[in-house]
Symmetry: C2
Subunit: 152 residues, 2 copies
DNA sequence: TCCTAGTATGTTATTACATAACACCCTATA
DNA sequence: TATAGGGTGTTATGTAATAACATACTAGGA
């Protein structure tokens, strides 16, 4: 049986390959491995869980290997880092450079991506009013997702 | 000579005392010490710099002491934690519970607080559109502050 | 062919961030 | 004077991230 999650993952990997080729970057084994694990996960993962997981059934994987892969994938926009709790999540839009907000459910810990075009303009203006030139923006939230609201 | 920074700090301490009394909480020595150090700092500080600083001229101060004080001060809204780089900054509005965005300058590392009433409503709606009930929001930015833009 | 520059990984060790667990102290109140 | 709640001190540990250096692969030029 092939789950939709698996299909989504294959898709993500293909898009990553394509994106790397276009950018002239190598989609190497450790990068693929890290992206696969993240894509297969229901929830954002901590770096050291990733390290353990990547080391299953094979040679041990050390922190720098995984952190380097994460840096790479984050730069390409294939993975997002959630600053609030130092976790990483595969992007389900494969390489949008546009900023998105990440909302994490307090119950099930799943992350929901939400675009925020409007918001970034407003914040840029608000920053500009104080003479601040905004270059990078982090928007994250906590709350309750739809499923968990139903269940409660 | 009394600088404006020092005046601001005295003010902040007084407000903190008042806030604690109203809430029935104790404004104890370590809490005061941590707030004083943060209030005196030009830039947000890392926890371990705070720990070193707090230990200067006296008995050594250990991590739990400072982290407990930080938790306390953050809950009261007297201090903000910047998630992006795990730093802490004294709030210059003394205990607003309202959310603010924190913009950090890439050059001088100073933080600028910006309120964002509008934005939270928009994001709440955007989240709601995906069935997500937003409870807490983190908005942070990076860029260049006014002073540094002048200097450049 | 050989050299070299650029990119990427492997490995060891260390630094930085944060909390668990327990003992002790103080103070209010029953 | 017991005892419960809140707070601190201390030891030890857990968790997140990177420095530094060695090694490997590839592409392009002498
Ligand atoms: Zn995304
Ligand atoms: Zn949920
Ligand atoms: Zn503030
Ligand atoms: Zn600046």
């Amino acid at each position: 049986m092939v789950t939709s999650k698996e299909v989504q993952m294959q898709d993500l990997i293909r898009q990553a390959e394509a994106l790397c080729q276009r950018s002239g970057m190598a989609f190497t084994a450790p990068r693929r491995r890290v992206l696969e694990i993240l894509a297969a996960s229901e929830t954002p993962m901590k770096a050291y869980d990733l390290i353990s997981k990547a080391g299953e059934g094979g040679q041990a994987t050390k922190p720098p290997t995984v952190y380097r892969a994460l840096d790479f994938l984050c730069q390409l926009g294939l993975v997002h880092r959630i600053e609030q709790d130092a976790t990483f999540v595969a992007c389900n839009h494969a390489g949008h450079a546009q900023p998105v907000a990440l909302f994490v459910c307090n119950s099930c810990l799943k992350a929901t991506e939400v675009a925020y075009d409007e918001v970034s303009h407003i914040l840029e203006k608000a920053a500009a009013a104080k003479g601040f030139n905004l270059q990078r923006l982090v928007v994250e939230g906590r709350g309750q997702c739809q499923e968990c609201a139903m269940a409660a």
